[in-house]
């Protein structure tokens, strides 16, 4: 039993829904109680889909238990076929139905429906959403794809995009364009945008492009083994990775990796003088492993940030994640507990967070700007406009998206120079963001400090607050901690909000190290000099 307040991934049957909802002509009969129908709204509301997910829930109730849940399932499967006439059906159980052991696969098989029926075995009490998507796609390929003669021209399949994926719609389009530049046509992109009939003809492609290892690797491996199709290992996220990807495709196909790069702007945008202010900004990354590993490379080598923390929530990818973090001299954070992520971010005091929907909230609570780089994401991260993450246009989009939450270069200088100006003060926030500037929106949950107290690094009365709340009580010393003298406290307030947390932390660390009990303005500037780089 594990107490969970919020989870990065849903249960595995939600992964299966992501596959089914991304496709047409496939129907999912899910043995589940009525409440599980909530999952529809992930697709209809958050992703704004204009059709219901192709899912029939049996919605059994307590009075059906022990009586006849099996017949209920059979009726639901039969009715679903009659009503929707799908090309193929997947059947399975949600967590509750798994416990009553009705064997949806066997029951549906006995119905002799006039379409392929693929049973899914998704262990709800062990695995999660990404596994569910990966396994469902894998089983679809097993059931429907076959080795077959290759197309005459060089073609490939694109694997792993699903409904509710972070920018999957546009990534598939962008990578299709990119492959087109090399002279390669896409045979099938799946699951997103495909039908069961498409999956049946995947065997005719020459190779596979694995865009999302989290949700497509099972299928890629099986296709490699069964249809003899090699698959790409580089995910084209960022400039360097996109070029590596082109080389990998070239080595698989013998085509030239040289393509027209005139649409690529990120390198110049990073090299232009305004971007000097980005250099060395401290970033913390968290999300799914594939996006985080790629984002770290972009941050470090294509924008010039300093990566001060990184991690992922999907344990399946812990190994590559750890290896990647090591290259930046970091220990990877592998957890699906967002409170741990929040503590790690507070401790690292970054100037920018790159994360999921949850890190955006953490950033809001800590007063640290955040850009979203990975699932899970909310309605505002399904933009109307074309905004891929992959390929050259993806790199351009990434530059814009990451830079947007930050204070602009010149503005940063002005804030430092005129920090006391009544309307151009540091708490006003970036000038290109509308609304009332107040980045330190702290939750209304009252007793946070008392809750988090014990387990924190010294110097942090609360990890949820690196500036203002503490400022109010800065003169109160918890057991032997250095005390801020009023003048130093005023000086600290003059430091722009986006570096204040770091300044405070450094000063306190310095004071402790030197055994200074009272922090004066002197101490503040000594610490500044000490940490100057």
């Amino acid at each position: 039993m594990k107490l969970t307040l919020w989870t990065y991934e849903g249960p595995p049957h939600v992964g299966a829904m992501r596959v089914a909802t991304g496709m047409t002509g496939l129907h999912y009969v899910l043995h589940a109680p009525q409440g599980d129908t909530y999952a529809d709204l992930l697709f209809t509301m958050i992703e704004r889909r204009n059709h219901r997910p192709p899912v029939t829930y049996t919605t059994f109730q307590a009075r059906d238990l022990g009586a006849d849940t099996a017949n209920l399932f059979k009726d639901a499967a039969r009715d679903a076929y009659t009503r929707f006439k799908p090309q193929a059906m997947i059947v399975g159980a949600s967590c509750t139905a798994e416990l009553i052991q009705d064997d949806p696969g066997g029951l549906a098989g006995a119905l002799d429906l006039p379409c392929p029926v693929i049973p899914l075995d998704l262990p709800s009490y062990q695995r999660k959403e990404n596994f569910g998507a990966d396994e469902t796609f894998h089983q679809l390929c097993r059931a429907l794809a076959r080795p077959m003669p290759r197309t005459e021209a060089i073609t490939c399949n694109i694997l792993g995009a699903t409904a509710l994926g972070f920018r999957h719609r546009d990534d598939v389009a962008e990578v299709t364009k990119l492959l087109g530049l090399m002279g390669i046509t896409v045979n099938v992109a799946a699951p997103l945008g495909s039908t069961p009939a498409d999956i049946a003809r995947m065997g005719q492609a020459h190779f596979n492009v694995l865009l999302y290892p989290e949700t497509g690797e099972g299928a890629a491996r099986w296709l490699e083994k069964t249809c003899g199709q090699p698959y790409t290992k580089v995910v084209p996220l960022g400039v360097g990775a996109t070029r590596d990807f082109l080389h990998e495709v070239a080595s698989l196909t013998g085509l030239s990796p040289k393509v027209d790069e005139s649409a690529l702007r990120l390198p110049w945008w990073s090299a232009s003088v305004d971007s000097t202010y980005l250099t060395g900004k401290r970033v913390f990354l968290f999300g799914d492993a594939t996006h985080v590993i790629a984002a770290a490379r972009i941050a470090a080598t294509e924008i010039g940030f300093e990566v001060v923390g990184m991690g992922c929530y999907n344990r399946e990818f812990a190994r590559p994640m750890r290896a990647a973090a090591k290259a930046y001299g970091l220990e990877a954070l592998i957890t699906d507990d967002y409170l741990e992520v929040e503590d790690a971010i507070a401790a690292a005091a970054p100037e920018l967070i790159l994360g999921t929907q949850q890190e955006r909230h953490i950033g809001k609570r800590l007063g640290i700007p955040c850009a979203v780089i990975s699932s899970p994401v909310h309605v505002q991260d399904f933009p109307a406009r074309y905004s891929p993450q992959m390929g050259f246009e993806g790199a351009n989009v990434i530059f814009d998206t990451w830079i947007h939450p930050l204070v602009m270069g010149l503005e940063e200088h002005l804030l430092t120079m005129f920090r006391e100006d009544f309307e151009f003060h540091s708490d006003a926030g970036p000038s290109h963001h509308g609304g009332k500037a107040d980045l330190r929106e702290v939750s209304d949950e009252a007793p946070l400090a008392s809750v988090a107290g014990g387990a924190l690094p010294p110097g942090f009365a609360s990890p949820r607050d690196i500036s203002e709340q503490i400022m109010a009580e800065a003169t109160v010393s918890p057991s032997g901690e250095p005390v801020w003298l009023p003048a130093a406290e005023r000086e600290l307030k003059k430091i722009p909000f986006f570096v204040r947390g770091k300044a405070k932390r450094n000063t306190e660390g310095y004071a402790r190290e030197k055994g200074v009990a009272e922090i004066s303005v002197e101490t503040l500037y000594e610490a500044k000099a000490h940490y100057a780089r």
Partner: protein
């Protein structure tokens, strides 16, 4: 309006309308969802669901963008080892609860909430609650109820929660009024102030904002419900000797007036005094509703079952906004509680209970209502087909009771229609969408 004359009711209401009972696929949340508003209402309570990852995911999806630093609800997720009997679920639960209560010393009430998995494996949470209450008394009181989807739909979770508290309430012989049902604080304050001005009291609320404010109950207690879905709580209070004051629900000017009048009569308040207190807010409510009734008047409305608020809301829309209900679907029809509203709802609509979602979609398609009230899973697919919808969950998450909110309530229904009139660009097919004009569950 004359309050107590029967001429007020339509010639024929819907109380005797035969109910279309449906049993098929439902598209309704389970009772766990109530936690989303209950934990905001009870400020020293924590809701601990004993369930699966699905339950945790439902809660956070229903809570949507409301992600708190540390919410006062969570899920103790059952794992393989709990199911295989390798770990003793009770020991595990005790450990998680102890850890939680150390982290959150502000918690005074803990609700162990049962789910489908905990019920199917027959985890006895009632016993666990007793045991834990013993362990953590007097600081924390531990309750238990089920919010499982095999037992409860959506708002029934609040009913189960309140019903679980009733047996533990202190006894009293005082003559007091209990107002039953979670209201947003601002609405609760308005309600209390109206009752105070009328001279009705003492008034106590269930749920209370804090454990220390919990009411007592006894044979002199009378109670009024502010939500129609509180059937079990109603029964539990009657078992404690309390007496129910049936009335139409306080939605809209008319509903609020009738609801208050039922209480006023019980307390012998004169008609003159009643009018003096309510005249101004009634006029305000009528005025506010009128602004939206212009949009709503003459339009038809179709309710998919969701929150059990459907009957009183249909009554409000029919009588105060001039709409014509075509079908009023509700997950569960508690005739004794919604009787006064059914009497007022003019004969005509199909009254349906339970659901078979595909068949109901067919009926809705036939009926082509001007406005469809439905859950989040159906709203966008129906919009894409050209229907105008209002998502029902907002009716539970928004302050809509009593006079001052009557206009807001009407606005929730008129806005989709006004938007429809404003948007002139045709909907194009995007990559993410299959073209409109397809049946929502349909495959090409």
């Amino acid at each position: 309006m004359s309050l107590d004359s029967p001429a007020l009711a339509p010639n024929r209401g819907c109380r005797d309308t035969p109910v279309l009972k449906e049993r098929g696929q439902r598209e309704v949340f389970c009772g766990l969802t109530g936690i989303i508003w209950l934990h905001r209402k009870m400020q020293d309570a924590f809701f601990l669901v004993v369930g699966s990852r699905t339950c945790a995911h439902l809660l956070q999806s229903a809570a949507g963008v409301m992600i708190f630093a540390e919410p006062r609800f969570g899920t103790a997720i059952l794992e393989e080892k709990d199911l295989a009997g390798l770990a003793d679920a009770n020991t595990e639960l005790d450990r998680e609860v102890a850890r939680l209560l150390t982290r959150r010393p502000d918690i005074k009430q803990l609700f162990l909430v049962g789910s489908c998995p905990s019920e199917v494996i027959k985890l006895d949470l009632a016993r666990a609650a007793e045991r834990l209450s013993g362990l953590h008394a007097p600081h924390v009181r531990v309750y238990n109820y089920s919010g499982s989807g095999i037992e409860t739909t959506f708002t029934q979770g609040e009913d189960a929660c309140l019903a679980a508290m009733v047996p533990t309430l202190a006894s009293t012989t005082a003559r007091e009024v209990l107002i039953i049902g979670a209201l947003p604080d601002v609405v609760e304050d308005q309600c209390l102030s109206l009752l105070a001005q009328l001279g009705i009291g003492p008034v106590r609320m269930l749920p209370a904002r804090r454990a220390a404010d919990l009411p007592a109950v006894g044979p002199q207690t009378v109670f009024a419900l502010v939500q129609p879905f509180l059937g079990d709580t109603h029964a539990a209070l009657i078992r404690r000797g309390a007496r129910h004051l049936p009335a139409a629900f306080p939605f809209g000017e008319e509903g609020t007036t009738l609801w208050l009048w039922a209480l006023a009569q019980e307390f012998g308040i004169s008609r003159d005094h009643f009018d003096a207190v309510t005249a101004a807010p009634r006029a305000r409510a009528r005025k506010a509703v009128a602004a939206h009734a212009e949009t709503l008047n003459g339009k038809s409305v179709f309710f998919f079952p969701d929150s059990q608020l459907e009957i009183p809301l249909a009554r409000f829309l029919a009588r105060e906004c001039g709409m014509t209900p075509l079908e009023v679907g509700t997950p569960f029809l508690h005739a004794a509680i919604t009787g006064p509203d059914l009497d007022l709802l003019p004969e005509g609509p199909v009254i349906s209970e339970g659901q078979d979602v595909d068949r109901q979609l067919d009926r809705q398609h036939e009926a082509r209502p001007d406005l469809t009230i439905c859950g989040l899973g159906l709203a966008n697919p129906l919009e894409a087909q050209g229907h105008t919808t209002k998502w029902a969950i907002e009716l539970v998450f928004t302050p809509v009771h009593f006079y001052e909110q009557a206009g807001d309530l009407a606005a929730l229904f008129s806005r989709p229609l006004r938007r429809k009139a404003l948007l002139t660009a045709p909907i194009a097919c995007s990559q993410i969408s299959r073209g409109p004009g397809q049946s929502p569950g349909g495959q090409p």
